[in-house]
Symmetry: C2
Subunit: 482 residues, 2 copies
């Protein structure tokens, strides 16, 4: 039973990313391992960050006409099995409820790995005429996918929180027009809140969602050279509508099946955010997602304690609209506290000692660059608001530079293999569209198709498939994935 031990990081991000990540995320008290293997506890800083993402995304969804709903977390086995590809994709990871109280139940219930099947059962009752469309519903919940690989907090958790949007339209065109709206919302939230860039594109058929006609994603690159998928959007066409009998009487008097989409952003993004922005001192939180944006560390001795603490509170009061915490305990030294708050990733630290109380300036340190500067007390609020904004912009800029540098155009398999072996990011290569080539590439290099970035598809024309040499139809970002 002692006061807190000093839990700094011993691993270096550049040398052992995996160990660094686990130390950073746990020692910073962002999340913790729980009593259940592969599932984590979201501590206040992590939940705050997720809630900010949820709330920002939700606001944009609602503005675009999407409504929130909530469906049961359990799905009867016969429903989950209705769509063949879907059940094959998910059933290996499903957690099954077989008993309630002391009784065995007649039919097993799956804890939702995703909610298409239980939602579409209701959609088929609710959708009768073209007047009921579009039906654009979303829910915020948590799902369980029992990963059997080594689970990693946030990046590969057996339970994660997310949004799942499930929409239905009268026409193919209306359904397809939703894609850019939703991917645009995700891109905006990633940039404006998580300070994360990503690569938008279409998945190959091999890598698309179980049950979808086409999948789209925003892909990230981790510091260890492994790609990880971010938010996604799936065009389901009439696939589920036919299986779940979601049809409507159209204006022309005929009965048609609805066209559907699904889309999601999950708590995995918090893991990507930490992986991308963190450094050897700890995690680095983008200011909008930081529960504490500014920490004030009073530097005092016994004789000037009261005066300095009072000055800290006075300053705090002047910082309306900023989330401030004053660390006034005397159990730890200022140096210890500096380390502690750097570990926790708080964007700005203010030091207030005798010099700051008697003078007209305070000392400020920014977490992203670790720079120290002096600002006038009178301008504190205004300068700090600008500094928080600047930190956000800098984090995004830095991340975008790194992402851009991680994309390497290759045109031969030799270059491809060397690139993948060096773990330096994406091998961007022309591809003929044949799954055989995709399979062979995976077999020989370990890299899979992450997506076909929208912004480079024009370059496919005239190029040859990196594997077989026949005409390319797409440019693909290949990488080993997390």
């Amino acid at each position: 039973m002692e006061i807190k031990e000093k839990k700094m990081l011993t691993a270096r991000k550049a040398e052992d990313f995996s160990e660094w990540y686990q130390q950073a995320i746990i020692n910073s008290e962002f999340v913790d391992y729980s009593a259940v293997s592969g599932m984590i506890a979201f501590r206040p800083a992590a939940y705050f960050a997720w809630d900010a993402v949820r709330s920002a995304t939700s606001k944009l969804f609602i503005e675009s006409g999407i409504q929130d709903v909530y469906f049961p977390m359990l799905i009867p086995e016969h429903l989950l099995e209705k769509e063949q590809e879907h059940v094959e994709g998910f059933s290996p990871e499903v957690a099954w409820v077989t008993h309630t109280g002391k009784s065995k139940i007649d039919e097993r219930l799956a804890i939702r790995p995703t909610s298409e099947t239980i939602m579409y059962y209701s959609y088929s009752k609710w959708i009768r005429s073209w007047r009921d469309l579009p039906m654009r519903f979303n829910q915020w919940n948590s799902v369980i996918r029992w990963e059997f690989k080594h689970p990693v907090p946030l990046l590969r958790s057996r339970e994660f929180m997310w949004n799942e949007g499930h929409t239905a339209f009268a026409t193919k065109e209306d359904a397809e027009a939703e894609r850019d709206v939703v991917l645009g919302i995700y891109e905006k939230v990633l940039k404006d809140y998580l300070a994360l860039p990503g690569i938008k594109g279409r998945k190959t058929d091999k890598e698309k969602f179980a049950g979808a006609l086409a999948s789209f994603s925003i892909e990230h690159m981790l510091p260890n050279g492994l790609a990880i998928q971010g938010p996604d959007f799936h065009v389901d066409g009439q696939n589920f509508a036919k299986v779940f009998d979601i049809k409507f009487l159209d204006k022309d008097g005929s009965v048609k099946y609805a066209y559907q989409n699904t889309f999601a952003i999950s708590t995995r993004e918090l893991g990507v955010m930490i992986a991308v922005h963190g450094d050897d001192k700890g995690i680095v939180l983008p200011p909008k997602l930081a529960l504490v944006q500014v920490v004030i560390i009073p530097i005092f001795k016994e004789q000037n304690r009261a005066k300095i603490i009072a000055a800290a509170h006075e300053l705090s009061k002047a910082l309306s609209g900023i989330r401030v915490f004053i660390d006034e305990t005397d159990a730890y030294s200022p140096g210890w506290k500096f380390n502690e708050w750097e570990l926790k990733g708080v964007p700005v630290r203010i030091e207030i000692g005798e010099k700051e109380v008697s003078g007209d300036s305070i000392t400020v340190a920014r977490r992203d660059t670790l720079e120290k500067m002096s600002i006038k007390k009178q301008e504190a609020r205004e300068k700090l608001l600008a500094l928080l904004e600047d930190i956000h912009v800098n984090l995004y800029k830095r991340a975008l530079e790194r992402l851009s540098k991680s994309i390497h155009k290759v045109s031969t398999m030799k270059e491809f293999k060397e690139l993948i072996e060096s773990r330096s990011g994406f091998a961007q290569a022309p591809w003929c569209g044949k799954v055989e080539c995709e399979d062979k590439i995976k077999e020989e290099t370990g890299a899979k198709a992450t997506n076909m970035p929208f912004d480079v598809q024009g370059e496919a024309e005239g190029k040859k498939c990196v594997y077989c040499g026949s005409d390319a139809i797409a440019i693909v970002n290949f990488a080993k994935s997390y």
Copy 2:
């Protein structure tokens, strides 16, 4: 495949509450039965209402220093079993996960019926010194309690959403001081958002929460004369702390166990809200919880359609800060639409026809009293905001009057039995504090102790127990319960 059938209510609330409630809640498209027995789908209106309750409560929690966290939804069996009373209270209702994918798991996992056990496992790691206290955490999630009685949407669901607050303090006094803060927050949210009054008091030991030292509740009365428990607050003392080893190094150098509380408000309140405010035309939503606050019904023929629809949109634009929907379909008559929106409980309806377009007034109908009135177009926004506020106040006042009238002071068992048999509400009676009397009362009348209302405890002095005639120590509200 047809356009919507007319689904009005056939049951009368005063004659067959149970049938009325189910028709009202389903036909209004507030919630729907789902593919899982005993679990419901929250349609947009219901989710919006719950999200407003969540958001209002959360804001008050955060202001009072409570922080949001999130813990896994699954609890290993050995953890759930650690506290004896707790497991006995919950295990009959637990949904058990026994398999993941094709594999049987080594230890069964309970879907949380409540999260004390999984949270306190972590608290024992996180709490080391008095500096870590108080630790006041809350989570918003859904839980499963497999009710074997007939489930009823919202009022008795096998899955429900709630907040669960779980706090730890260094001293008994600090822990106990939290009670009035939290019950005050719940009371405020019930009054200001759901327009619901309740009776605040302490539960008897027989009726307290499994594992608590003392429980407190806010109790409601349903129109059928049955009581139903609302939000609650439990003082756990050091009970769980001893079982889960939650201890800390105090200022005096000694190691002590923490004092804990737990508290909750759930989606059951939405059911109570509908039961209390609804009428034979449908549900009645308090304006702050209404996804649509004002519905505009344009009344047109083919020749003036465009003009009238345009006027409706113009009016809508002037109503900033109000959630407005224009029902401009021509598939249904105005009368059909009036019924439909009354069924859905939208607080205010505006009718716009030729007369309203040419004149300077519009016709407005309020849902709570069904009164119609005329308001000047120019003052529409201001008058409607005032009307929405007035509807809220009126709903609360009406509910409070009914609740007050449902409390009947009785001093003999003859009065007690007559009152309970007549299904007219609470029998408020003096009680000696002995569980034997409480048991006998339950046996002979079917009524149980709902709680001991704070505001009448002064009246116990000098009174005799309604059952045994010995000195009373408390005044108890007895009722049959839902």
